[in-house]
C-alpha cells in the first residue's frame, strides 16, 4: 500500500515537472510578450522593464531560475497585477473557486445519484423519458448559456417580486453561491445521472440482487444496501476528474456572476500572456488534478473490496 502510494506520488511529481516545462516552452513560443501594450514604450523604458522582470536574460536561464524558485514554492510576481505575487493570487482566489466547486459538486452528486436512481426505478416510463431528455439538454448546453439564462431569470424574478430575492451577481453569502453552483454543476449532474441510471440497471440484473430478493429481504433494504451501494462505484470514479474540472473550469460562471475565483485569472493570463500567472496557475491546477486522481484511486480500495492496491 505504502509503496504504491509512493510510486504514484513519484509519477505525479514527474507529471508536474512535465506540465511546467511544456507550459514554459509553449508560452515562450507564442508571439508577443507580457510587456507589450497598446501604447508602445521607448527603448529606455522597455529595457528598464525587461531588467526588472528578468526578461533580458536568455530563455534557458529564465527557465532554470523559474524552476528553482518554483521548488522553493515561489511563483513570482504577476505581470498583470504588479503589486501581487502569484502565490497571493492563488491563496486568495482558489478558496473561492474551491467553495463554489465543492458546492456545485455536492449538487451534481446528490442530484446525479437521486435522478439516476429515480430514472432506473421508472425505467422506460414517463419520468425516465423526461429525465433522460433533461440529461441530454444538461450535457449538450454549454455552461455560458445556462449562466446567462439563469441570470436573466433571476433578474426577471427580482423585477416581478419588486425586491431582491436572489442576487444577480456578486459573491458573499450562501444566496449568491446558490445559482452559480447549480449552473456550474449542471453538466456534471447530467453526466452522473446517466451513469447512475445505467449502473443501477446493470446491478439490478446481477445474481446477488436476485439472491437477496429470494432470501426475502425488504425492497428498501435491497435498494439501499445492495443495489445503490454497488451502483455508486462508477460515480466515484468520475468524481476525481469532476472535482478538478469543476473547481478549475468555472471561468465563464465566475465571469457572469462576478465571482472572484481563480478560473478568471487562469484564462485572462493567457490572453495577456502574463508569464508568471500562466505558469503559477497551470502548475497549481496540474498538481491539484494529479493529487485528486491519486486520492480517488486510494479511496477506491476502501470502497470496493475487489480492488487491492498492493497488487498494482
Amino acid at each position: 500500500m505504502l509503496s504504491y502510494i509512493l510510486k504514484r506520488l513519484g509519477i505525479g511529481v514527474f507529471t508536474i515537472w512535465f506540465i511546467a516545462t511544456a507550459t514554459f516552452t509553449a508560452m515562450h513560443m507564442v508571439p508577443g510578450d507580457p510587456l507589450s501594450n497598446e501604447r508602445g514604450t521607448n527603448e529606455i523604458i522597455r529595457a528598464n522593464l525587461e531588467r526588472q522582470y528578468g526578461l533580458d536574460k536568455p530563455v534557458f536561464q529564465q527557465y532554470l531560475l523559474y524552476m528553482g524558485n518554483m521548488l522553493k514554492g515561489d511563483f513570482g510576481i504577476a505581470f498583470s497585477e504588479e503589486n501581487r505575487s502569484v502565490n497571493d493570487i492563488i491563496r486568495e482566489h482558489f478558496p473561492v473557486s474551491a467553495t463554489l466547486g465543492l458546492l456545485s459538486l455536492l449538487f451534481a452528486t446528490a442530484g446525479g445519484v437521486l435522478w439516476g436512481a429515480l430514472a432506473a426505478l421508472y425505467r422506460n416510463r414517463l419520468p425516465d423519458a423526461v429525465l433522460m431528455f433533461l440529461v441530454i439538454l444538461g450535457i449538450s448546453v454549454p455552461s455560458f448559456v445556462f449562466a446567462a439564462l439563469s441570470q436573466l431569470l433571476i433578474l426577471n424574478l427580482n423585477q416581478w417580486a419588486g425586491r431582491s430575492i436572489l442576487p444577480v451577481a456578486g459573491w458573499g453569502d450562501f444566496r449568491s453561491m446558490l445559482v452559480p453552483a447549480l449552473v456550474l454543476g449542471m453538466s456534471t449532474m447530467a453526466f452522473m445521472t446517466r451513469l447512475m441510471r445505467s449502473s443501477m440497471l446493470e446491478v439490478a440484473n446481477t445474481d446477488y440482487i436476485r439472491t437477496a430478493r429470494a432470501k426475502g429481504l425488504s425492497p428498501t433494504r435491497i435498494f439501499f444496501r445492495h443495489q445503490l451501494r454497488n451502483a455508486i462505484l462508477p460515480v466515484i470514479t468520475v468524481l476525481g476528474p469532476a472535482i478538478a474540472i469543476i473547481t478549475t473550469g468555472g471561468f465563464v460562471v465566475e465571469s457572469v456572476f462576478a465571482i472572484p475565483g481563480l478560473g478568471r485569472y487562469f484564462v485572462q493570463a493567457v490572453a495577456q500572456l502574463d508569464y508568471t500567472v500562466i505558469m503559477g496557475t497551470t502548475v497549481f491546477f496540474g498538481a491539484f488534478l494529479v493529487l485528486v486522481v491519486i486520492a480517488v484511486d486510494i479511496l477506491y480500495g476502501f470502497i470496493d473490496p475487489r480492488i487491492r492496491l498492493g497488487a498494482v
Partner: protein, 546 residues
C-alpha cells in the same frame, strides 16, 4: 420494489419549501444609489492593475487614483484646469514655479509638501523603478537621461525651495505642461511613508495614504473596492458623496448590465461605454443614456516600411478616393453618436482661441472613382507591377473590428479590384504583428495622453514608437519640431494645422471615426463628469438626488 423512498411528490415538496424560504429571506443587498447615505455602487471590468501612482498605467487604476490623490493642478466640476495642491503658479519659457496651499493634507494629518513632489517625480524616471509612463515626465529637464541611467536622480529639473514652493525646470518650452501636472505620475508621494511599505506601496489598504477627495477603506482583491469621503481633504466641502463602492468586478459586460437593470449600480460602463448589444437593450428599454466623446480617434494606418506596396502614395490616394467614412459610420458601425473621421485631430481639441478643427479646417479629399483608378494605374507603373499583390489588413478579434475590416475588404475589391485578406488577431499577437510590421493596413486608434493636439500630432514623427507604419517624412518631422520647440500657441497650432493637412494630402492615414461612449445612469445620480484624458469618468462632484 418499494418506491416510496423516492417519491417525486416528496422531492417537489422539499423544493417548494426551499423556494419559500428564499422568498422569506430578507433582502440585504445595497442599491445602486442611496440618497440618505449619499452612497453609490458601480461595477468594474476587473482589478486595478497597480495603484502606485508612480507606476500606474491602466484605466482602472487611473479612475481610482483620480479620486484618492491629487496633483499640483486638477480638473474641477466643469472640466477646467484649476489649482489642486498648488494654490498659484507661474510659468515662463522653461521655468515653472508652484506655491502649495498650506491646508493640503495627507490622510494621516501631515501636510503635503514640495518634497513629496520631488521624491515622486524622481522615482518615476528612476530606471530601477521602471515606470512604463516615464516618458510623460520627459518634458522635465534631464528626465530622459536619468531614465536611461546616464544621470543621477538628483539631476532632475525639480527642486523644493522650501516646504511650500516647488520650482520646475523644463527641457524645452512645453505648452501643455500645466495640464500634465494633473496626471497621476505627477502626483506627490511621501518618502518616509513610501519607504516604510517595503515595496508594497498601495498594494493593500494598510499601505495607502491619500491626499485626494476620497480614501480607499476596503479592498478585497478581484472582488470589491470601497472609497469613502476623505475628511482631511482641503476641499472636502465641495464633495457630497460619502461612499463610492465597487462591489462587483467582472469582465462580462452583460452581467454588469444586468446588475444595472436590477438596480444595483448607479452608472454602467462609465469607463469604456456600453457594448453594442447592451446599448440596443438600453435603447429598447428607454433607459437614460449619456453619450460623450471618449477621446479616441480611429483610422486605417498603412505600412510605410521599405518593400511594402502601401508605401506608394498613389496607391494610398486611390484608396482614399473611394473611402467614405460616413458610409462606414452610419451603415456599417451604426452606433449612435460616432463621428465620421475626417482628421487625426478630434473635434473636441482646443486650438488657440477656439476649437482646433474650427481654426484649422481639414481639407476634404474628393470621392472620385475615376480619379482613384488613375491613381491605381500610376501606382502600378511606379511599383513596376501588373497587379497589386494581395494585401493584409490587421485588426483585433472584436466583432466591431472584424466588421470594419470586411467592409474595407469589400470596398477595395469592388472599386479598385484589390485583393485584401482580413487578419484578425488576439490582443498580444496583434501587438506583435504590428510592432514587427507584419501588415499592409492596420485598423488602429489613439486616445489622448494630455489635452493638447500634440498628443496626436507627434504620432507620425519618424522617431515615435507608436508610429506603427513607420511613416517617415522630413517635412512632417519639421512641423513636429517647430511645434515642440516653442510655447507660443499660435506657432504651435499653425504647425499642427500643417500636420493635419499633410496627413490628408499624402494619404498617410484614412481617418475612420471618433468614438463615443454611451453610458447608462440612474436618473437620481447627477453631476458625473466624463472626460477625454485621464480617468474617463469622475464621481468627485457627483451627488444623489431624491
Amino acid at each position: 420494489m418499494n418506491s416510496d423512498n423516492f417519491s417525486p411528490h416528496r422531492c417537489l415538496r422539499v423544493f417548494a419549501l426551499l423556494l419559500c424560504a428564499l422568498f422569506a429571506w430578507p433582502a440585504v443587498a445595497q442599491n445602486g444609489v442611496d440618497f440618505a447615505r449619499q452612497a453609490v455602487q458601480i461595477a468594474m471590468t476587473g482589478e486595478p492593475r497597480n495603484l502606485n501612482s508612480i507606476r500606474a498605467t491602466d484605466q482602472l487604476s487611473i479612475f481610482y487614483l483620480e479620486h484618492v490623490k491629487e496633483g499640483l493642478l486638477r480638473k474641477n466640476a466643469r472640466n477646467e484646469l484649476v489649482g489642486g495642491v498648488a494654490e498659484r503658479w507661474e510659468m515662463e519659457g522653461t521655468h515653472a514655479k508652484f506655491w502649495l496651499r498650506r491646508n493640503a493634507m495627507w490622510s494621516d494629518g501631515k501636510p503635503v509638501t514640495a518634497h513629496d513632489f520631488v521624491f515622486a517625480w524622481r522615482q518615476v524616471v528612476n530606471p530601477e523603478v521602471a515606470a512604463e509612463y516615464a516618458s510623460i515626465m520627459y518634458p522635465v529637464k534631464n528626465a530622459e537621461a536619468i531614465n536611461a541611467g546616464k544621470m543621477p536622480l538628483e539631476a532632475l529639473g525639480v527642486r523644493a525651495i522650501d516646504d511650500y514652493t516647488l520650482e520646475v525646470e523644463l527641457e524645452a518650452p512645453t505648452g501643455y505642461f500645466l495640464a500634465l501636472t494633473s496626471f497621476m505620475i505627477y502626483y506627490p508621494v511621501r518618502e518616509d511613508f513610501y519607504k516604510a511599505q517595503n515595496g508594497r506601496y498601495f498594494a493593500d489598504v494598510e499601505n495607502m495614504i491619500f491626499n485626494g477627495p476620497f480614501k480607499i477603506t476596503r479592498w478585497v482583491h478581484g472582488a470589491s473596492l470601497r472609497m469613502e469621503k476623505n475628511p482631511t481633504y482641503w476641499d472636502a466641502d465641495s464633495v457630497t458623496l460619502n461612499v463610492i463602492d465597487t462591489p462587483y468586478m467582472t469582465p462580462d459586460s452583460k452581467a454588469r448590465f444586468n446588475l444595472f437593470k436590477d438596480g444595483k449600480l448607479a452608472v454602467e460602463n462609465g469607463l469604456q461605454g456600453l457594448e453594442a448589444e447592451e446599448l440596443r437593450d438600453a435603447l429598447a428599454n428607454r433607459m437614460r443614456i449619456h453619450s460623450h466623446s471618449d477621446g479616441t480617434v480611429f483610422y486605417v494606418e498603412f505600412n510605410h516600411r521599405p518593400g511594402r506596396v502601401t508605401g506608394n502614395t498613389n496607391l494610398r490616394k486611390a484608396m482614399q478616393a473611394v473611402f467614405d467614412s460616413q458610409e462606414l459610420v452610419y451603415k456599417v458601425i451604426g452606433i449612435a453618436g460616432y463621428i465620421p473621421g475626417r482628421s487625426l485631430f478630434p473635434v473636441y481639441m482646443n486650438g488657440v482661441n477656439d476649437k482646433f478643427r474650427i481654426e484649422y479646417p481639414v481639407p476634404q479629399p474628393e470621392l472620385n472613382l475615376e480619379k482613384a483608378r488613375q491613381h491605381l494605374e500610376l501606382a502600378k507603373q511606379e511599383l513596376g507591377v501588373d497587379e497589386i499583390p494581395p494585401l493584409a489588413i490587421l485588426c483585433d478579434d472584436r466583432e466591431i473590428a472584424i466588421l470594419q475590416a470586411q467592409y474595407f475588404q469589400a470596398l477595395f475589391k469592388r472599386t479598385l479590384g484589390l485583393d485584401i485578406k482580413v487578419d484578425s488577431q488576439t490582443f498580444k499577437q496583434r501587438l506583435d504583428k504590428s510592432q514587427n510590421g507584419n501588415f499592409d493596413l492596420i485598423l488602429t486608434g489613439w486616445g489622448p495622453d494630455y489635452e493638447d493636439p500634440m498628443t496626436f500630432g507627434d504620432l507620425f514623427a519618424s522617431w515615435n514608437v507608436n508610429n506603427k507604419g513607420r511613416y517617415s517624412s522630413p517635412v512632417y518631422d519639421s512641423f513636429v519640431r517647430t511645434a515642440q520647440g516653442t510655447s507660443d500657441q499660435q506657432i504651435r497650432m499653425d504647425a499642427m494645422g500643417r500636420m493635419q493637412t499633410h496627413l490628408i494630402e499624402e494619404a498617410v492615414i484614412l481617418p475612420s471615426y471618433e468614438r463615443v461612449a454611451n453610458v447608462v445612469q440612474d436618473p437620481r445620480l447627477v453631476g458625473v463628469m466624463f472626460k477625454q484624458t485621464g480617468a474617463s469618468m469622475v464621481l468627485t462632484y457627483a451627488r444623489v438626488v431624491e
